[in-house]
Amino acid sequence: MTDSVTHSGKPAPKQFSFLSNKFVLNVVGFMGFLFLWYASVQWLPIAAFRRLPDPVEVIIEWTSPDPYYGVSIFTANYYTHIFYSTYRVLASFFLAIILGVPLGIFMGWKVSVHNYAYALLGLLRPIPPLAWVPIAILLFPGVELAVIFVTFLVAFFATTMNTYVGVKAIPEDYFRAAACFGATEADILRDVVIPGAMPSIFTGLQIAMGAAWFSLAAGEMIAAQYGLGFVIWEAYNLIQYTTIVIGMATLGLAGFLSSAIVRWIGNRLMAWHEQKLGMEA
């Protein structure tokens, strides 16, 4: 459903409602961060901080038609890097959905699948993405597949585990009710297991999307010639510190936007669930 609270055109009963406005607080927090950043670079008597670019420098470089270090919103290579990173994240993300959702569903639904897979996943899951990089490079021909594999792994674990938890949390009575009405196993999968786990699956996909971006950067720093992670690492090596921050900020924005898209699709698909939340709120 739509957001029922509108901030405009509403009579303001409270005098300080401006300061409790969510958007205003978001902006205040953001501005505060920028100020602290500026202040620590400009005024702190610490040499390490003096080396960093301040937010004003970054914004000027980022929006310059003729950037000093060669990367800004007006240069083609900026978009080439974004394209490569996005493509890798999407490939990993969809691979994680295709493999993780079915595995999670059957682990939650069928005890035998759970017994095969759960302990193994429990052991593999804590291994950080960076630790997979050497194996990935040895395993796969070419950098591209290696980076996608490393990115995929984290997204896959998040998707699988949340799907599994979602199926596990479906009340037993729903399965029993469906059985009372003559549902076959295939019916139960379609009518109970998948819709019942859907909210948790989408939580998993949001986490997976975020996780994909941060393991992507790790993979790209070590093993790629394009991508935002590569931009950051290359800029570090070439002492182009402003470009480092541009790469970081772009990663943050991309992760934020893609998670928002996943959330939006989830809400569209689960009208029943959002209405439920709306009632409880």
Binding site: P171, R176, C180, P195, M270, Q275
Partner: protein
């Protein structure tokens, strides 16, 4: 359809259905026979005619739910047999199979939250492939309308309804399949008195208009006496039959019968039996805790 609901007074109960005769013979259920060896039911027997409304009362852990799970086909039994219209429904070694001839209305409510009211109501008709989509929809709307003009909530999701309304929809979802037995597992447990009374009237009207074998599980004795033709009091674990009370109060019933001498006499008879079992269960509970 509208107006049907106002003409019940003075009506007698509709005739008994032809099918729905239940015979529970000497049923025992032991959980985990090699380990903890919990005897949930021991030598429990009862016979019901088609169209009987039987309430089963007992303290928590008396095996009421176990009995219901076996009847519904969710669980096996260890020994004994259950017959439905002369055919074996459950016996040792038979695979428990739920079916639309014995529909359960669950304690916590089990409407599918991701389906609308109408999708929930027509679910059984479609899954059993009894009819096409359009026909099922029409029948679903007819049942909703007949049950107090509920057609207006056909496209709502369960979470948008009050708990009383959810229960009514769940009962409609069961009845539309024309089951031989309606199994009600403490369906009104979580409700306040006003809503509970309203639901009782509603259930009695359904029973009056479309008589079925009903097994109503509850721990509320007054509810049981008010609704049922027979109240079976179970002992605490291992659950077995303690008292079988015939409730020959006239139908249709309303709240006023609770003040009648006949009702009070029945209640006194039952109260002491229930209290005795509740006390035993409570004391054992304390010992198990210690």
């Amino acid at each position: 359809m509208a107006g049907n609901s106002t003409v019940t007074t003075g009506q007698t109960v509709s005739p008994r259905p032809k099918s729905g005769k239940v015979s529970v013979r000497n049923v025992t259920k032991i959980y985990d026979p090699e380990g903890a060896n919990v005897v949930a039911l021991e030598g429990f027997s009862m016979d019901m005619d088609a169209g009987d409304f039987v309430a089963i009362v007992g303290p928590s852990g008396c095996g009421k739910s176990t009995l219901m799970n076996i009847l519904a086909g969710f669980d096996t039994l260890s020994s004994g047999e259950i017959y439905l219209d002369g055919e074996v429904l459950a016996a040792p070694g038979t695979k428990p199979t739920p079916g639309a001839d014995r529909v359960v209305v669950f304690q916590q409510g089990a409407l599918f939250p991701w389906m609308t009211v109408l999708e929930n109501v027509t679910y059984g008709l479609l899954r059993q492939r009894k009819m096409g989509k359009a026909q099922a929809k029409a029948k679903g709307m007819e049942f909703l309308e007949r049950s107090g003009n509920l057609g207006r909530i056909a496209n709502s999701y369960p979470a948008q309804l009050s708990s009383g309304m959810q229960r009514r929809v769940e009962i409609i979802r069961a009845l539309i399949n024309d089951p031989k037995i309606l199994l009600l597992d403490e369906p009104f447990r979580a409700m306040d008195t006003v809503n509970k009374n309203r639901m009782h009237q509603h259930l009695l009207k359904i029973f009056q208009d479309n008589r079925k074998t009903i097994i109503f599980i509850t721990h509320d004795l007054e509810e049981a006496l008010f609704l049922a033709d027979r109240v079976i009091v179970m002992t605490t674990r291992p659950g077995t039959l303690k008292l079988d009370i015939a409730v020959d109060l006239p139908r249709p019933r309303d709240q006023s019968i609770m003040a009648s001498a006949a009702y009070i006499a029945l209640k006194q008879q039952a109260v002491s039996a229930v209290r005795e079992e509740a006390k035993r269960a409570f004391e054992r509970g304390e010992r198990e805790m210690a």
